[in-house]
Each structure stands twice: as structure tokens, then as C-alpha cells.
């Protein structure tokens, strides 16, 4: 089979069709109530003053831990603040929406993978990328 050495720089007609199909999946996922709720709660969490205040405290403790300053004290304090964040109603709602979104995406991905003959998301993750979500 004659294939290009650098696949990402070469677009065949099949690949363009696949890209369009990918965009279609993305657009339809975005329109689902599950994902809309998730995005709304993500914005709500990021804008929440209590979350922002506690996040600032977390960063302070994390920085102290990285510098090795009173590690036991800061580790306990960090765990306490993390628990406080997790208990906030808006964060709990966000976690539930995130879990629902994961379930939705996993079902979609299983379908894609079944048709493709290869596990899609598992093999599509860029190495070293811990982004998103």
C-alpha cells in the first residue's frame, strides 16, 4: 500500500469525508441537553466567587507543598479545602453533569469504535495531553 510518510499533512478524499463526519458528531453532541447542561455548569463553577476564593487557597497550599514548606500542615489544609470545594452545591451539580456527559460520550465512542474497527478515543488521545474536560 502506498501511504504518505507524514499522514497528518496529507488529506485524501476519504479523510476529508471523515473530517466532515467528525464535525457532524461534534455539532450533534454539542446540541444534546446533557452537554449543554455540562457546559453551563462548567461556566457557573468557573464564575462562582466561593470556588474562586477556595481555588486561590488551594494554589497557596500547593505552592507551599512544591517548595517543601511545612508539608504536613499544608497537605492537611489542602485536603480540607478540596473537600470544601467538592461539597459546594454548584461543584456537586457540575460533577453530576460531567459524569452524565462522560456516559454519553462513551456510548457515542463505543459506536464509532465498533463501526471503525478500532478503539477511537483511546487511540486518538494526543500523547502528553491532559487537557480539556
Amino acid at each position: 500500500m502506498d501511504m504518505p510518510i507524514i499522514p497528518i499533512l496529507t488529506t485524501t478524499a476519504n479523510q476529508e469525508a471523515a473530517r466532515q463526519a467528525a464535525r457532524s458528531v461534534g455539532n450533534l453532541l454539542r446540541q444534546t441537553p446533557t452537554y449543554t447542561a455540562f457546559l453551563g455548569l462548567l461556566e457557573a463553577v468557573n464564575a462562582d466567587p466561593a470556588v474562586q476564593q477556595l481555588a486561590a487557597q488551594m494554589r497557596t497550599h500547593q505552592a507551599a507543598l512544591q517548595m517543601g514548606r511545612d508539608p504536613d500542615q499544608h497537605a492537611v489544609a489542602l485536603a480540607s479545602v478540596e473537600a470544601e470545594v467538592a461539597a459546594l452545591p454548584v461543584v456537586r451539580e457540575y460533577r453530576q453533569a460531567e459524569a452524565a456527559t462522560r456516559r454519553l460520550f462513551q456510548v457515542v465512542d463505543a459506536l464509532i469504535s465498533q463501526e471503525a474497527g478500532v478503539a477511537f478515543a483511546e487511540n486518538a488521545q494526543r500523547s502528553g495531553c491532559g487537557c480539556g474536560g
Binding site: 463526519a21 456510548v107 463501526e115 477511537f120 478515543a121
Partner: protein
């Protein structure tokens, strides 16, 4: 995974169509062929099963606080080297390495629509 979750019809069809479009890609075909050749190679399959079993066994021991002996580590690395140099496994892994950037680009198209990383949420 929640197998009872019902997808909207349009999304279900789009996901199927996307999967089918992926399957027509030359890199996917090459990978599937390489995977079939591997599956037909009894020695390679046995090697990978042995490697997986040994890895799990050593991991459990380590997690239980046991320090692995030099012999155990050597046995593992020898088995891994044999697996990594088995031709059908090498061919499968090379085909997969060629395929991954193609899949990553396609996932990027989905992520661009979503404004979050699709692969993080879908795994």
C-alpha cells in the same frame, strides 16, 4: 459504560457514519490487516499473554510491598524484549503508530465543535 443510554437518532446515525468513514482510511485498513496477521500468529499472541500475566503478577507483588528480585525483573524485561521484537507485534504497533495521528486529527475536529477535549471525556 452505560449500555442502556439511548442516543438521539441523528447522533446515533452520525456516530455510525463517522465510524464507517474512519474505516475507509488507508491507515485504518493497514492497521486492521496488521492486527489480523498478529491474531493469526499464535507465538505472538502467547508472548503478549505471558507478558500481560507477568506484568499483573509483579504489579500486585509490588503493591503488596514486595521488592522484586533481580531475576524477576530480568525475566520481565526479557519477555518484553521478545514481545517487542516479534515481527507481527512490531508490524501491528508500527501500523498503530501511523494511525494514531490520523485519529487524533479527527478527534480534534470533534473537540473544536465542543470546545473541550473529546478524548478526555470519551474514555
Amino acid at each position: 459504560m452505560d449500555t442502556t443510554l439511548q442516543l438521539p437518532a441523528a447522533l446515533h446515525e452520525a456516530a455510525r457514519a463517522f465510524g464507517q468513514a474512519i474505516r475507509t482510511d488507508d491507515f485504518v485498513s493497514a492497521y486492521l490487516e496488521a492486527r489480523s496477521r498478529y491474531a493469526a500468529d499464535a507465538v505472538a499472541v502467547e508472548l503478549e499473554q505471558q507478558l500481560s500475566s507477568l506484568y499483573e503478577e509483579l504489579l500486585v507483588r509490588q503493591q503488596a510491598g514486595e521488592t522484586l528480585s533481580q531475576e524477576q525483573r530480568t525475566a520481565f524485561y526479557d519477555l518484553r524484549r521478545r514481545a517487542q521484537t516479534q515481527p507481527s507485534i512490531v508490524a501491528r504497533e508500527e501500523a498503530l503508530a501511523q494511525l494514531k495521528p490520523v485519529l487524533a486529527n479527527l478527534a480534534g475536529e470533534i473537540s473544536a465543535s465542543l470546545e473541550v477535549d473529546y478524548t478526555t471525556l470519551a474514555r
